[in-house]
């Protein structure tokens, strides 16, 4: 079975590779002195550990490999003038991801993103593309109630991981433009994660919280530490070999200030809260998921960046 899974993953990677070649990739996040790091939210681990899709897969089967595409839409301005123009930013990521058990209670997740971002500027569209920062995360199941013995089934997991600077950090982008217009932070970053799931019959709630500790990269730039949280309410409908899981929830991110040469950069901190809706459909070992996120409240980089929406689709194969 594992052989098939590997083959499957490989095929997706090949498909991904051809897609790269055919797409015009540009890198999108440019702002003056403010740097935001939206694009790294997902490769950092936010999406992977979030209630949405992971909650579902962990219900049917907590172990899978798959491919995911996500799109993030922003607009930003330099914040220098009252009449600074707003520019659209379009971030795209294709990600190979998987969650593989190494023992009864320990699972290892890996995320390998490829970014192709673009943004408008006064002098035309700019783009960046390339492999992003690879994240490896180990989750340890600290507590789980036995399914048949209790009214509510609880699962609590704790974990930690590392994000490697496999994506290229471009200092030129960080200086005069939005530093978040990057495919990587250029730094070794660490994450601490926790996930809690409580289920009652077909209903469930998934909460996740994680904190990303970012270090200074070789260009003496350090992105601010980041707190991600999410809560998802889901319902599992199963019939024959089909399963359908509608989901509704919220997700938020809090960014601390970025630093350069140990000096705090103004207007680089911020926070955002999204509402999200999603659906996952599974048949036998294959599952397809889609979800959309709309901001409810936000204050990113002193108001110089606004998130419009995010959406993602994924195809997973249970191990």
């Amino acid at each position: 079975m594992k052989k098939y899974a590997l083959l499957f993953l490989l095929l997706f990677q090949l498909a991904n590779a051809t897609e790269k070649d055919s797409l015009n990739t540009v890198n999108p996040f440019v702002k003056y002195h403010s740097f935001l790091e939206e694009e790294d939210f997902c490769d950092a681990c936010g999406c992977s550990a979030s209630g949405g899709s992971m909650g579902f897969t962990s219900m049917l089967n907590s172990n899978f490999v798959g491919i995911r595409y996500f799109n993030q839409q922003y607009k930003s301005m330099d914040g220098l003038y009252s009449n600074s123009p707003w520019y659209k930013e379009n971030f795209n990521t294709v990600q190979a991801w998987g969650r593989i058990p190494v023992s009864e209670t320990v699972q290892v997740s890996a995320l390998i993103p490829y970014h192709f971002h673009e943004r408008e500027t006064a002098t035309g569209n700019k783009s960046i593309n390339g492999i992003g920062d690879i994240t490896v995360l180990a989750m340890y199941r600290l507590y789980q109630t036995h399914k048949d013995s209790t009214f509510l089934v609880h699962t609590l997991q704790l974990g930690g991981g590392i994000k490697a600077p496999t994506g290229k950090f471009n200092e030129a982008n960080s200086g005069s433009i939005n530093p978040s217009f990057q495919v990587g932070t250029g730094s070794w970053d660490y994450l601490l994660a926790t996930e809690y799931v409580v289920k009652r019959k077909q209903f469930g709630l998934n909460f996740m919280l994680n904190y990303v500790i970012k270090t200074e990269n070789q260009k003496n730039y350090r992105f601010g530490n980041q707190l991600n949280y999410a809560g998802t309410f889901f319902y599992l409908y199963e019939k024959n070999s089909f399963s359908i899981v509608p989901q509704l929830g919220f997700a938020g991110e809090v960014y601390e200030s970025n630093y350069q040469h140990n000096q705090k950069l103004k207007n680089t901190n911020g926070d955002i809260l999204f509402g999200k809706i999603g659906l996952e459909v599974g048949k036998e070992r294959l599952s397809f998921g889609a979800n959309a996120m709309l901001p409810i409240n936000q204050n990113l980089t002193g108001g110089n960046v606004e998130a419009n929406y995010r959406w993602s689709i994924n195809l997973n194969y249970s191990l």
Binding site: Y32, H33, L80, Y81, S82, N83, S84, V102, S103, E104, T105, V106, A138, Y140, G160, I162, E171, A172, S174, G175, S176, W188, Y190, I213, E216, N220, Q260, H261, N262, Q263, K264, L265, K266
Partner: protein
Amino acid sequence: MKFQLKNILAVLAIAITMFSCSNDDNEAITGEGNLKLEFDNTYKTADFAMNTNYTNSNAEVVAVSKAMYIVSNIVLTKEDGTTFTYPKSQSYFIVDEATPATLVLNLSNIPAGNYTKVKYGIGVDKTQWEAGATGQGDFLAKAQTAGMMWSWSAGYKFVAFEGTFTSSTVSTAKQFKVHTGQTGTDYNYTEVTLDFPKIALVRTTITPQVHIMADLSQLIDGANKISLSEAATVMGGAKLALVTANVSSMFTIDHVHND
């Protein structure tokens, strides 16, 4: 179970080891580097554009066609309070909105250090002018070419601000000219001192860029209000001292890059 715990401990150990790594940033600061002073003209808070209508607080609508000023005598102050005076012979610049290359002053051969403030003059100081035509080096020719001199005896124009305006009493666009420089009673050279919001780290490998906002509206619509309807040509008399006073408050520093 034991096996898993071992794994977790291993991961934790690796993580802690990596956290423990720290850069040693305390290397000696030696050598010389460069620093850029960027002058970004605005009109009030808007990004300034030539020949665009702006309304002043006295309801006059101005469209500016020329915005030039002389920046001189740059002095940088270090964290420890010591100063570095940019060589006087190289310390005269003409900032001209119409010529983008002039908006960034590239200062070179600056001793590496942590700088916290900058001081510069607007105009040409009296001592320099008194050095006579031969004492001006090539700046005299530069100023003449740029139209920033009246005549040698009358001296330099420190600020040249021109365009057209309309108001409640002036219905068809009328030309205005505001030039500062010496008058019979006032010399009108003024100095500006600005603190950096962040330390400018001049290194052999880092060229800080200081982003200075210059609010052109302040020239005539600052603390002192200059009515163009009353007199469209302001080149002398007591009003120049008022414009000069406005000049000293038109500059602010938005940010400093250390790239």
